[in-house]
Amino acid sequence: MPQLDLTTFPPQVIWLAISFIVLYLLMAKLGLPRIGRALEARRTRIEGDLEKAQQMKAEAEAVIAAYERALAEARQQAQQTLKETADRLNAEAAERQRKLAERLAAETGAAERRIAQAKTDALANIREVAVEVARAAAARLVGGEVDAGAATAAVDAALRERS
């Protein structure tokens, strides 16, 4: 069995040691750092990209939030304006209404005063007419002039009785 030939041990061990040490040094100093660098570069790159994507996402979200805030503000402002306009219009309408009512009330008052005046005038005229009529009637019935003062007094008494 060639494996048990002791004379082959020294050359095998010597060259094993040389080969292994050479390979170890090549891997430790040259090979593995190269692989490690490539992997590290990739990991850094991927992490960088992820970070950038995260940042962009955050920015986009901020923009969306700002937009929504602006939208809400605009909406609120619009509602405010709408409400103010409605209030103003309501106030104006109420004012007009009030003025109209006042004018109407004033006109009504004036008309009433005129009517009262007319009524008073009419009543005064009625009294004079009644006195005239009473005197004429009395003259026709009695045949003689009735004193104007007495007729007036009689008409007033009669009017007071009626009213």
Binding site: M1, P2, Q3, L4, D5, T7, T8, F9, P10, P11, Q12, V13, I14, W15, L16, A17, I18, S19, F20, V22, L23, Y24, L26, M27, A28, L30, G31, L32, R34, I35, G36, R37, A38, L39, A41, R42, R45
Partner: protein
């Protein structure tokens, strides 16, 4: 019809006779295959990572996958603080794997089929791991041999067993690899011998040999992996005791 001696393939041939101070340091076929392994691994790693592309090509991926496989193996089995020993485990794994696989090439030579080679590797691991353990833990390293939660009386029995199982590690480690390589390659040659001897019926041993080559490919990878992972586990013992 004389078939070849199945053990003849393991013969060490001195290609260049070198003697230094009475010590035989000849460059043998074993040394040649070791040199090829070193050259191949180095060339493969260096050439495939030459461009170090952000998106790796096919060959760069092979190197990176192998590297990450070893990193993962070391991290999982020996912990993160075993990282300084990553180059050693990587070299060991790549060297044995390459030696096993190169040995499967016809007319080649398998340097891992020699007990002296596997033993030299195993004893290096054993001594290295023991030194790491003592340097790290000093006297407490001996607690590795004292199992936890065992009655004191049983320790009289268990401590020698633990000590023995620790000390036979280089032997089990080296014999496992050596025996697998020896058996596989011997079988391949035995069946190959039948192919010519049986004439037309030689197709049967040829089929067996074809299947055996596939099996040996698996064994070559597996045994390199087993050697590397056991190294990691021994390292874990030295770094963390129990």
């Amino acid at each position: 019809m004389a078939t070849e001696n199945p053990l003849h393939q393991f013969t060490i041939k001195r290609l260049i006779e070198i003697h230094i101070g009475g010590i035989d340091a000849s460059y043998t076929n074993s040394a040649l295959l070791m040199s090829i392994a070193v050259a191949f691994i180095t060339a493969f790693v260096v050439l495939t990572t030459r461009r170090a592309a952000l998106v790796p090509g096919r060959w760069q991926s092979v190197t990176e996958m192998f590297y990450e496989f070893v990193v993962d193996m070391v991290d999982r089995n020996a912990g993160h603080d075993a990282r300084p020993y990553l180059p050693f485990v990587f070299t060991l794994f790549a060297f044995i794997l390459c030696g096993n696989l190169l040995g499967l090439i016809p007319y080649s030579f398998t340097f891992t089929s020699h007990i002296i080679v596997t033993f030299a590797l195993a004893i290096t691991v054993f001594i290295g791991v023991t030194i790491i353990g003592i340097a790290r833990h000093g006297f407490r390293f001996l607690s590795l041999f004292v199992p936890h939660g065992v009655p004191k009386v049983l320790l009289l029995l268990l401590v020698p067993i633990e000590l023995l199982s620790y000390c036979i590690r280089p032997f089990t480690l080296s014999i496992r690899l050596f025996a697998n390589m020896l058996a596989g390659h011997t079988m391949l040659v035995i069946f190959a011998g039948f192919v010519a001897a049986l004439g037309i019926a030689g197709i049967l041993p040829l089929a067996v040999d074809s299947a055996l080559v596939l099996l040996e490919l698996l064994v070559a990878v597996l045994q390199a992996y087993v050697f590397a992972i056991l190294t990691c586990l021994y390292l874990a013992d030295a770094l963390h005791l129990h």
